[in-house]
Symmetry: C2
Subunit: 351 residues, 2 copies
């Protein structure tokens, strides 16, 4: 029954008593193949169980209809359980499939330019969606040099030339969160963010900037200790929150990472800190996620489905060599739920 070797287009041609050209024509639904010959070929294909070699087709056409999604290996564990990543990932794959592409998941050993480029250049894909490495200037240069289409999932440079990304307005995000808390009379606010090698990811830097803008507007002086760096994994976050609350008792918290948010809520649950009675909490990320938490969390809501779809569009434009139409960053919205309350001195304080 089974062939020793998989049948090729030649076997089909022979079986159908035609040439490979004809077979190729019926495969590609070419114009004008006589119905009779066409049927002969189809029969032969059926009889042999012939499947055209995708590999050869890619080789010939130069198009794989594959989009590479590049992530640093060290990030993958953390990132995979992050609600924002999940939302992006889902939107990315759905959009890609809608456009006839599949997603190839690529991980680099580390999150630096060299490691990224090393894996990217050896991959079969028409273009790459890159989850930004720690530094990406050299990576960008290398990709340009090699003429490889790419897009980044976030703002990756301050050079206005570098506009191959779709972002949200993160300054606005930090601003509306801060402003809302200040409106609620909070002054003792802490902004919990992740940190990479002591610095901030660009979007966190922007959010902090927005937060500072709100503070200034309300005449509250910014102090360094308002920014609290806590790692983004569950246990480390829990410990980080613990450490914070041993020395400090803010009345409001902004948390830039979803996993840290869950860890914080768990910590508050475990230690009888009531949200929002004792503490107001604002999260950042996809709204559906915060809606599934208890208490329902007030959050700065990002439309990741939208930005992910735009990102794929952008990449496809680059692949097709079309001029790229940059997208305006979408403003995030504040969704007010049950985790934020007005601060007053009279409010019960945790012991």
């Amino acid at each position: 029954m089974r062939q020793i070797k998989k049948p090729t287009i030649r076997d089909v041609a022979q079986e159908a008593k035609v040439t490979t050209s004809t077979v190729s024509r019926v495969l590609n639904e070419s114009t004008l193949v006589k119905p009779r010959t066409r049927q002969k070929v189809l029969d032969a294909i059926e009889r042999l169980g012939y499947i055209p070699s995708k590999t050869a087709r890619i080789f010939k056409s130069g198009k794989s209809y594959i989009l590479g999604l590049v992530i640093g290996q060290s990030h993958i564990s953390n990132i995979m359980f992050n609600a924002g990543f999940q939302a992006q990932f889902k939107a990315l794959t759905e959009k890609a499939h809608k456009e006839g592409y599949n997603i190839l998941l690529i991980t680099a050993a580390t999150a630096d330019s060299e490691s990224y480029f090393e894996v990217i250049k050896n991959q079969v894909a028409d273009g790459f969606i890159i989850f930004s490495p720690s530094q990406n200037d050299t990576l960008t240069a290398m990709l340009e040099e090699a003429d490889i289409p790419y897009v980044y999932n976030m703002k990756y440079s301050d050079n206005p030339q570098d506009r191959y990304y779709v972002s949200s307005d993160d300054v606005e995000g930090g601003y509306i969160a801060g402003k809302y808390l200040l409106d609620l009379n909070h002054k003792h606010i802490r902004f919990v963010v992740g940190s990479v090698k002591g610095g901030y990811l660009p979007f966190n830097a922007d959010r902090i900037r927005g937060f500072q803008k709100a503070l200034k507007q309300y005449g509250v002086p910014f102090q360094e200790e308002m920014i609290v760096k806590i790692p983004g994994q569950m246990d480390e976050s829990y410990n980080g929150i613990h450490k914070l609350f041993q020395t400090d008792r803010p009345t409001a918290l902004m948390i830039s990472n979803e996993i840290t948010t869950v860890a914080a809520l768990n910590y508050f649950f475990d230690h009888g800190i009531r949200v929002p009675q004792d503490l107001s909490v604002i999260g950042f990320g996809p709204s559906e996620f915060f809606r599934s938490l208890r208490p329902n969390l007030t959050n700065v809501s990002y439309d990741l489905a939208w930005s992910s779809a735009k990102l794929v569009d952008l990449l496809l434009q680059r692949i097709e060599g079309k001029p790229v139409t940059p997208e305006m960053p979408k403003k995030p919205e504040l969704v007010i739920r049950d985790s934020t309350a007005r601060y007053s001195e009279a409010a019960p304080k945790p012991s």
Copy 2:
């Protein structure tokens, strides 16, 4: 600076004043290329910015080092936010990368055999990891016929010949959960499971079987209403739990799906049903997930990292044509945490 066309191995050969064979040899670090020529070639490569065509290499070698992960499009939304899937997915990609493979995410329009086969056969991948479609007998036959290496993520057949999967012992899972609740004096138990087209997924059927075994052992008669079918998405689950608790007040719940578990906990939070005081709850899935819930959930713990790695091993064995060594299903363990308590009449009942 940039070439009109990407340089090929021929361009390099010309530039280095050697033949393509020699270039190929240095690319493949072949034995015995004179250091001097080797350096000449390397220089030429550097000068031209040459990158070997992965596509051509795949075409030649027939090996892509890509593993296809096949999911029904209708499932992808639900599956992506499911803790068990995430854990599998993460473990799968990490293991694949460790073995030098990348994961290509493939979605089929629907979850039936024809749709699955249609996308699979047109993909470039050395083998496929298939998240089981609703019915897979014909799919399996077609894959065998086409000589495509595949494995399923779960038991997909009762034919002992069909052993291309790695599973856990789900009968045991249902059994230990039921037994523990019975030990705690619960009799009014409900087992919440998903359902597909009115039937159960094989692993749920097994878990139910295990539950029945426990009941029998304790002399508690099984009744149909002990099994509650609730869809696996967040909102539908919430509504399903709501509906259940309007007509029924079990003292203990086993929940076969992680999202449904979260939805249920949210419902209990919203309606003042205390866990475990008013209701004991047992979840099924990866332990880390249930540990991140509040209250900390007692759960039947599956080692998805282990089974996923084994699954990749199995697939690689098939790809390499090695005889397949089937793996014994691993027994899940009951991890007792804070969501289960002994039942006594005196216990406070919700109003």
